[in-house]
Symmetry: C2
Subunit: 262 residues, 2 copies
């Protein structure tokens, strides 16, 4: 075989190995402009990053945070308007109902359940949909306007659980970080959304101002216990609904990647 033929064969072998055969991946060439593949890779990497971010948020590993990371805003939007959020809400309500059914309610009205309101019984997704899906710093003024509209719809699995607990004989307490000045609008909204016959709606009073939610809510649960109730269960979308003292026998954490309350 002629020398030129060997050279050609060698060239074919080298070229077949592709352009990456000797280039360390760290200096691998990337196309100058976005290609479809590139966009796909970035989307996949964003999804992995944002799924992991959501894990740390829902387990309270992330600690305090003020807004959804910029690269996760689309992820949060898709999640909160999609099947998974709905399915998770159903799953948590099913866990709570199963637990509640196994409790022998005494019938003396002392068996209690504590519900948070926002993102637990009422959904503010409509508000967050026009306010950047958690990407903006919380704005008290515009949120108060939304509260005054009284248009937050019920979270359906929450409403179903609420009604089943009532049938089972539980006394229901609503414990919210909303203020006394929002009590009337909140009551109206709850009623429009289908909630009725709660024992007490507990809001932040003047003396509760400035307290972290976990402290305010623990103090109020303590008052409920001191009044003779047994808090069997507690439902909330924030860990500050479910941590601290005077805890319920079991707590049910609902998903919420939109905002964090200490």
């Amino acid at each position: 075989m002629a020398f030129i033929q060997w050279v050609l064969i060698a060239l074919v072998v080298i070229l077949s190995a592709g352009p990456t055969w000797s280039v360390p991946s760290i200096i691998q060439m990337r196309p100058e402009k976005d290609t479809l593949l590139d966009a796909d890779v970035r989307r996949k990497s964003d999804h992995l990053f944002c799924s992991s971010w959501r894990f740390t948020v829902e387990t309270n590993d992330a600690g305090a945070w003020t807004r959804v990371p910029a690269r996760c805003v689309d992820f949060v939007k898709e999640y909160i308007t999609g099947d998974l959020y709905a399915s998770e809400l159903e799953a948590v309500a099913a866990n709570a109902a199963e637990y509640a059914r196994a409790i022998g309610v005494s019938g003396d009205g002392r068996d209690a359940w504590v519900f948070d309101i926002d993102e637990t019984l009422l959904s503010n997704v409509h508000y967050y949909a026009v306010n950047g899906f958690g990407s903006q710093i919380f704005d008290e003024y515009s949120f108060n306007e939304w509260v005054e509209l009284r248009e937050a719809p019920a979270i359906i699995p929450g409403l179903r659980l609420y009604k089943e607990l009532q049938k089972l004989g539980f006394t229901l307490f609503l414990l919210t970080g909303r203020g006394e000045y929002q009590r009337h609008a909140t009551e109206r909204n709850l009623m429009y959304a289908g909630f009725a016959n709660w024992e007490k709606l507990i809001v932040r009073g003047n003396t509760d101002k400035g307290k972290p939610a976990s402290v305010f809510k623990s103090e109020k649960r303590k008052e409920i216990e001191d009044a003779g109730y047994i808090i069997h269960g507690s439902s909330g979308d924030q860990w500050s609904d479910l941590m601290g003292f005077a805890l319920a026998r079991r707590s049910f954490k609902l998903p919420n990647p939109l905002y964090y309350i200490a």
Copy 2:
């Protein structure tokens, strides 16, 4: 236009609307046998169900459970051997490291961190891979054989966090549900996997038998506190590592859909 032409146009319009235009979805016809589409729909529905199940497990909403639901075994296998588990472990370790760096370690050796071992520092995924990925009831006998092999590899983000905490000056306690009879194998395994210089390895002694992990671990954290240490952080894959009393100032929940320990 002739009548027949109008009829044909109407037919085209009706057929374009597809076969579902007037059939309520609840009585929609399904193919008798699995088609590719059907398998795809089932896969999607399993994924939704199992993602939601995993949410309830990782937030402790599910309460006690003994094995992965049958329809989620493939899901758990894909998750635990895939990118997401690795990415979540990295994210939690990053949260913990960020928190630890912000603590002004005093230098007197009293600043402490408590680590669980299994699925926190050492990975038993090799064991679970040949034992049904959480689909089988826990078998103490075969798990003990695996422990005696001393071959559990380090969870890399856990090892990196461990080493960084040591550099920062934290005193490290290892607090595990493993028994006194497993102490030697556990020490060897930890050392082979790259862990060194822990302050104390706390295992279940004779007087701890039968206690729920959350009680045993709370009692041991209390002893650490009573000895003058401040437990700044605690890392564990089970809520029973992170609940009860004598809690760390911040707790870091690692993912684990393979098993539940009360």
